[in-house]
Symmetry: C2
Subunit: 240 residues, 2 copies
């Protein structure tokens, strides 16, 4: 893991860009020198780690005493796209414009994206936990499909916050039944692009003894800011 | 309103029993002398104001800086029951033991209970707001059927927290569409006595721009304590 830049932000948070092989990432750490519990933060469907809403959540969470890390998935953010990636994205855009059903396209696009992202997040996790300012236990926050797969294969994930606003491949819908870590699922009640009933069925499927659903009025990007604070209290109960 | 007893609790909260005509009530107020926003707190289906879980919530909420009041509905708690009340309760117990459908019995029992309770709560609200230590705005917490009716007719209710664990009469299911105050609904995901889909349909029906659903695993009485803290943060956003 090589740090390529660092910036001390005006709230005291240290934001460092890193690379780990081909993987570009950002690590936000609080001002305190004591080892902080780690939260892996990913945006649904491979949105870039530099996306302003993710950065705002990451900075706030770091201010609350966590080390927060995000990486770009292959073909996402600043990473080069293969010809197959480009074709899949073009096909998705075309089908959206045409108002065609998207499930089949999402399945063939998001499924492999999750499969490829999981080993990269685990490699990143190994590297992050070897840093002096980063301690266990580990939380996960954001992209639900990736988080289900990670929580299913990665015993170091101790608590997970999922945003139910992206396509969840069939394999992860099945894997949800294996998840037992404490879980907070966030749902936008009027998210046109994401069928509400599917999210409720997924919430029902998780095997966690502590699972909580927070649903709010509004569309996909309308999650109220107090949910970021609620997520921190959730992680506070399980990681601190 | 006549105070009949008062007790300074070890957390500094002052608990006062009162009567207002036939209505017995309890008022919990914080140690601070400044006027505190008022929260009306009622248990589902007319459970008594002295019920330990309600008292624990009321004390915690008062410690957080609110005046909290609860009254017993007619025929509930320590109030005398009419012959009709006794018959309705006997019929409910019989039907529960026999495993018969309860909707019809609940409708004829809870519907009038709500109708009779609403004017008593409004009279109590008038009296409470005339006390020196109690200020506006006013929140409501608990029994959903009563809360819907109160919020529909009482413009002083500025925010409402509902527990979706009791029978909601048909009239209040309709009235839910008129409710526009900020709203937090609490649902126990595995509450055997209360059909989950009805609660989700009710959540959908409210017309509030800010409405939030918190659902947790577990049965009727399994609401985790952190939801009491979350409710206080909800009221903090709207009443303070």
């Amino acid at each position: 893991m090589q740090f390529t830049s660092e910036q001390r932000l005006d709230d005291g948070v240290l934001a460092r860009e890193f690379t780990l092989g081909e993987i570009p990432g950002t690590l936000w750490t609080p001002e305190s020198a004591a080892p902080a519990p780690l939260i892996l933060m990913a945006h649904n469907n491979g949105l870039p780690k530099a996306e302003p809403r993710l950065v705002a959540r990451a900075r706030f969470t770091a201010r609350c005493g966590y080390a927060v890390a995000a990486i770009d998935a292959a073909g996402c953010g600043g990473r080069p796209r293969s010809a197959a990636d480009e074709r899949a994205r073009a096909e998705l855009r075309r089908a959206m414009r045409a108002g065609e059903p998207l499930d089949g396209i999402f399945e063939s696009f998001i499924g492999p994206l999750v499969e490829k992202a999981v080993p990269e997040w685990r490699t990143t996790l190994d590297a992050l936990l070897s840093l002096p300012g980063v301690g266990g236990p580990v939380g996960y926050s954001g992209w639900m499909a990736l988080g289900i797969r990670l929580a299913a294969v990665e015993p170091r994930i101790a608590a997970a916050g999922f945003f139910a606003g992206g396509y969840v491949p069939r394999a992860q819908c099945e894997e949800a039944r294996q998840i037992t870590v404490p879980l907070l699922m966030l749902l936008q009640w009027d998210d046109e692009g994401n069928p509400r009933q599917r999210a409720l069925d997924l919430f029902d499927a998780f095997d966690s003894r502590e699972k909580t659903l927070h649903a709010n009025t509004g569309g996909h990007t309308g999650t109220p800011w107090f949910e970021v604070e609620d997520a921190n209290r959730f992680f506070g109960r399980h990681l601190k």
